[in-house]
Symmetry: D2
Subunit: 292 residues, 4 copies
């Protein structure tokens, strides 16, 4: 029995009663690791991708450079990927091109946020960041939905009103406008470490459309509590890149200090790298396609 | 006092009496971590780059995709980078274009190995891999040297004869031919875990040209022992990607098992990511260039 | 009524009794011009693409740079495109990746030729160019066919034996081997200006598989004559790039000589450029998606 | 005697008493044709590049896709290139990255215009297009000048006030602000077919900084008249792409109608393509670098 399309898998994760989870990845390698760990889907995080590339989370990488990165990820994993598409890298027209290219590359959905291009990470001076005009951003959502070929491709609208300090009513107004524009789900974002504003939003939202949350700043709020409040999809947003940084810093420091690679803890073997790359398949294919 | 050019730094590391070390990186992020750990230079490993991209170490990524990756690395670090350029991605003419593009991107040197395109990792069925014709490969080295604009750009010739089972004499013959063709250094590679063949090669080589080694398979041989034998430059070839894999596997497993990101060990804070990205400089620049 | 898939269109062109024609293009712009001229399909010529990029027809552009170019073409036209894929840019494994990526980008088929990587244009020192081993090349064809997802994606095998001076029997042997390996059609290539060797080949081939020809060097042989001989698909291989060069040379010379752009003959208006770009659709979309 | 750097050549063209001319190109091929025609420099036109790629002149191509295109051009020609950099593809920070990458690719300068991202071609609904805030745009100019490594890299500020219908005073105010911000020259743009507004601007400008003009819409105003008024650099902005379109349309129509490539007028030979690609150099290099 073959698996459904990646888009269909993501749509099902967003709409089903059972809670779903996306794990961050930022490269082909991390995407494969997420799949091997048993997750159902991948969050292609803008912060993690920019960090991995060595640039800032401020649209320093062009949208096609992000596209190249997420293509490696889609090729390396059979899981559906939701791309953190920032503000859509321009206006509605840039969003249209983005959606077309994501569908071609096998990416299952895109999340767009209601800030201005070039964007800055929400956790840097959150309050100081201006939001997009509601109608302009709603036009982006409509353009994305009108552009997609695959009816199951998902467009998630991310509401930054709480982080920007605009309060609950503004967040609800925006969420409603974006849902009306056709968004498949609303990602309500917050930097409050209690999660109270998220829970309050959920209560007033009352199930009008699927909800997504990113509990990076409120990790102690249990997933089940968020699910009860109406959050169907939770995103673990940046933890693999943060784990890889810690590990690389420690290993680099040890090698520099020891002037040796002998006896290093916490490394996988080179053979494990070959296994993850599926080198065995290439050996087998060489027998099949190369002469005697 | 400004630092010398990256090419001059790499040349000095290869030619000075004091032993030098290159630490592997495979992305802008890992390149910056290598620099912060105090290393003097970076090995842009073909295995690590391909693993990070999610493809195999068999020239599945095009040479311009490798170039894009090493450009991110060069932008993210002030250290000299020696690119593991595999076989040069074709013939002497492809090598000429590669050298020109590497110089433009600020990469300090390239290492070319005497195998056939598309290559396979040396540690997969080493013995079965055919070597390049000596004259053909020597032509590549000459072409690279004739092409470089910056006299300090470094071309390292990697001898695979020992791994391919051709023995010491063949290795010495190849090393001599490549040095005669203009190689700035000879990388003598081995998969023997005692390092004996490397040491034997060094003894017979007798300092005809600078030597480079990659002790992945013989980590217990001390750096100082190799230095005494004549190896001026040692490469720690793939340990950061191996550390990152172990860390990402563990963290992904924990999050999947806990259904929570609370209390995870071994992660850096999000603020540490911002610091590595130098978000502070952007904030400062916004004050300088954006209106009131 | 919607048009069939691009792959299905190309397959139909190759297999139907009525003769079919592909017109060369080398950019998004030229692809659109081919479509507006009434052609049914596009030949994405390796010579033309390399010339347009400003590099040589010797795999100086990487395979992903070629892929980027053909993606612009596929986006700019609704016609099926057959990519001149040279030798496949490496071995069977590189071919597998190529086929996957071409399918994603909406390219309808690929033509592979039985020479060695990096290739040289067939019309430069044809005789001196070594051919691929038959079994090795047949493995590439099998790998391509096994890789494609869409059953209508077309793999054309190009036989260079006549140009290389190996004679009719060698050409027939190779054509048969490639057809046995699964090639959807055989492109038999010649530099002889009478077309006699092509016609002779056709006679002995006797319809074993669809035939394709490229009459650049024998333009006086009528299409109908080739059709009668069994050539179902004819490729006009490089005439748009050659027309554009002549025009640009003349216009550049005139402007340089006149020190003026007034009264230049043989130019389209700027408005015609906007029309080809479909600027009108963007205007209309702005009304639909931008706020009042 | 070697030629000065490309940046130095462009600076000299902008600042010398004798009038200078840039000819449009949009690809490696057209860049080489411009050089062979005897021009001193190249205008990498945003309209022409987008048209050639098959997209619209509305930032549909990402800035790195434009960068890739201009890199082919810089590689194919020894002439200095001034890139039509639209609005800089974002804010001051995107401009900084752009300048760094252009310098690496050997591009001699960039022209930035005072409109909003994503931009639209100035000749489509000119009046309706909002202009950038003067201070915000001046910050971009300062950021570009602070970023360049090569003191001769040129930053040209393009004033759209006349086309946007803001009148002479607004144009002068903007020109002065951008010159104060460090622009090496002011490009004053107009869609008026008499050129009167340009001449009026020049009179009031009175030589405060070098002036550049693009007489696409006022071709009957002699270059010498503009020079007398103070325009040191004239740009022939899009005529090669327009010539190539006309030629390709005619040739495609002829082939489609004739069902033959025999006796086509107005094409260069295939050998002329090889000559432009410098195939001879590769043949010569093969003798030098390939074995026997």
């Amino acid at each position: 029995m073959t698996k459904p399309n990646k888009t269909t898998q993501l749509r099902e994760m967003i709409t089903r009663p059972q809670q779903a989870f996306l794990m961050e990845a930022h490269s082909g390698l991390s995407a494969r690791i997420v799949e091997e760990a048993g997750f159902e889907g991948i969050w292609a995080s803008g912060l993690s991708i920019s960090a991995s590339l060595g640039v800032r989370d401020a649209n320093e990488a062009s949208w096609t450079q992000v596209l190249d990165t997420v293509e490696y990820m889609a090729d390396a994993s059979s899981l559906p990927i939701l791309l953190d598409g920032d503000t859509g890298y321009g206006n509605f027209n840039n969003v249209r091109r983005l959606v077309t290219k994501l569908e071609q590359r096998g990416v299952a959905g895109v999340c767009l946020e209601d800030k201005l291009f070039p964007k800055t990470n929400s956790f840097i001076d959150g309050n100081a960041q201006p939001l997009a005009d509601i109608d302009e951003f709603s036009g982006k959502i409509r353009a994305a939905k009108d552009t997609q070929n695959d009816p199951d491709f998902c467009v998630v609208a991310r509401v930054e009103a709480l982080i920007a300090g605009h309060g609950l009513d503004a967040a609800l107004e925006r969420g409603q406008a974006y849902a009306d524009a056709g968004a498949d789900a609303i990602l309500i974002h917050s930097a409050l470490n209690t999660g109270e504003d998220i829970l309050e939003f959920c209560e007033h939202w009352a199930g009008r459309a699927p909800l997504v949350a990113v509990p990076t700043k409120y990790p102690t709020v249990p997933a089940a509590r968020l699910h009860d409040a109406g959050v169907g999809l939770l995103i673990w947003a940046n933890h693999l890149v943060r784990a890889s940084v810690a590990a690389m810093q420690q290993t680099a420091a040890r090698i520099h200090s020891n002037v040796s690679i002998d006896g290093l803890p916490d490394l996988v073997d080179v053979d494990e790298i070959f296994r993850i790359q599926n080198a065995a398949e290439l050996k087998e294919a060489e027998r099949r396609y190369l002469p005697g």
